[in-house]
Symmetry: C2
């Protein structure tokens, strides 16, 4: 039996308590400074108000001011912050993790540097560790909604990191018959794949919104949605390669795109945009939700634009991303550049 | 204005009359020997009984015995047969195509050879042309349901062939603002991608059937469906590489998988299997429909088994395909081998 401390009690970290607790571990769930209401509810009757599920009785709950206590003698720390808490986690949590205790992150996203290069959160944390702090960082990617995981629907994810032996031991803590875990040492590939899918879920869901706006016209509109799905897979494959990930990770980008377009916040934004709302109106309608899709789409577009200025890529290779940027940054209406998706591909250009 | 003759009046070829006719071409639609009822209906009021759409008034309809007449002075022949008519088309139609007139095929599928190698239909036709017959063959792939194309939902496909200049001219005949066409000279890559997706749509849809069988359990079951989608993308990527296609074609495999899982016959088979029906029962329920998914899944599994015997691949790399084979050939019940999907991937193994 091990002790696992999950920091930030959002939906995903809280869902991960199911396999961990069922495997017999001591499970400690720590709220972020914004999670007091969640912790209060959990302490009362184990009910998680945003996950809308009841956690196992026996999990230990902590408020953010009890972080040190929750980290005592722990064997693993799980980072469950949203993209918006990445710096907070770096400054306030990582320095308090006991020496030699690894952490694994479920936060999906990337940060763009000034020169247009993009780094995953594990890379960003490692590059910016406070002086004297060492921290081994692993990460989780793949298609997994928190509610389905809580409900024991079979979920197939990947864990990544440099030390595959240590990663296999971490996997053992989580592995159940309904939580299927592959391992890879390609952190950049996996993390970029599952970060990008949030942006492209927004892009793909625009077709769903456009169809909804047309009303009950008797048309299935599956072709146009799959057209955007297909274009997303192509652009994501190129972007994974651009940041140095291995091509095999397209499976996670596509799988995670599929689950995200099926439901969730990233889909909701795209859907509203497709229905004709501006991004400001869409964000107002979804107020209070963390819109990772908007963040990653903007960051990726900005990075591609910078790399294009340096002659490293051609913006024309990413017409869907560039259109998302027009919508999100320049506040333009949705007008999908279908004809810009057309390519002519010859052997010599691709070998 | 050109003249285009579409042979076989199934749903897809008939849907292609929309862009062709709207572009001002003379459009001739020829029934196969099994299509007499369709042609009779079309002649009466342009209504296509299986497509359930009314074609444009002005299209010329022919029964199979009028093939020669329909081919007179035509500029392009479109092959719209199902997988089951590939040899019939080779023997009865191709020899009658006037010299120098190209053909383009919408038939999706592959044929396995004795040694385990798989060939696309364009390759198969070229290798087996009757003596003295020459025929230039192009092909169409990508996510496109016939009904959505008929309804002018935006569709994004790819056309392939060796001669990209000639292919660009063929594209011009079809191209409209709702029919988006990329070009590639990677016939094997595109055709294998869109053939394989039929088999894997069956595989992915099993999760949908399993969820349906559980009834209204309050669980979204999007994770398990995306898990199979993801595994399918991974296995398809490996198979595209195995047959010599370029990796970029995974976009078409994933896009076409998305549209096929959204609806259609391949999904229906997988759904019924997931709900607990045997393949014999499922085929009985779907009697009268051409089940391309079953054909391609069996053929691909057989090819992989033969290649495994020769030491070229490892069956364990394709656990979903092998399970489909157990279901379709050995008549076993669905029991998805989730744990077999788990991999450990290291840099040295993938570079």
């Amino acid at each position: 039996m091990s002790t696992v401390t999950l920091v930030c009690s959002g939906q995903m970290a809280s869902a991960l308590t199911f396999p961990l607790f069922e495997n017999g571990h001591e499970v400690r769930l720590v709220g972020s400074p914004l999670d007091d209401e969640i912790i209060t509810s959990l302490r009362e009757n184990n009910y998680h108000p945003t996950l809308t599920r009841t956690l196992h009785d026996g999990i230990k709950y902590y408020t953010s001011d009890q972080l040190e206590e929750a980290l005592e003698d722990t064997d693993l720390v799980v980072c469950g912050t949203s993209s918006f808490g990445v710096d907070w986690f770096l400054e306030n949590v990582i320095p308090k993790i006991p020496d030699g205790v690894p952490m694994i992150s479920v936060t999906k996203g990337m940060i763009g540097k000034e020169d247009g290069t993009m780094v995953t959160y594990p890379e960003y944390w490692k590059e910016n560790l406070p002086e004297g702090v060492e921290q081994e960082i692993f990460a989780i990617g793949g298609p997994c909604t928190a509610r389905d995981l809580s409900d024991h629907d079979v979920s197939f994810v990947a864990y990544c990191g440099d030390d595959l032996e240590k990663l296999a031991k971490i996997k053992d803590l989580f592995s159940t018959d309904y939580y299927i875990i592959s391992l890879t040492d390609d952190t950049v590939g996996l993390e970029s794949a599952v970060a990008l899918k949030n942006g492209y879920a927004l892009g793909t869901a625009m077709a769903i919104g456009i169809a909804e706006e047309l009303g009950d016209d008797g048309i299935a509109h599956v072709n146009s949605k799959s057209a955007l799905f297909q274009q997303s897979v192509d652009e994501m494959a190129k972007l994974i390669e651009l940041v140095g990930g291995r091509p095999e990770n397209i499976m996670y980008a596509a799988g995670d795109l599929d689950v995200t377009v099926a439901g969730g916040r990233s889909r909701s934004v795209g859907e509203l945009l497709g229905r004709g709302y501006s991004i400001d109106e869409a964000e107002e309608k979804l107020a209070g939700q963390t819109l990772e899709a908007v963040v990653i789409a903007k960051r990726t577009a900005e990075a591609v634009k910078k790399l294009a200025e340096r002659g490293i890529v051609d913006e024309k290779e990413f017409p869907l991303l560039m259109h998302m940027n027009e919508i999100l940054v320049d506040k333009k209406p949705v007008n999908i550049p279908w004809k810009a998706f057309e390519t002519v591909r010859k052997e010599e250009e691709n070998v």
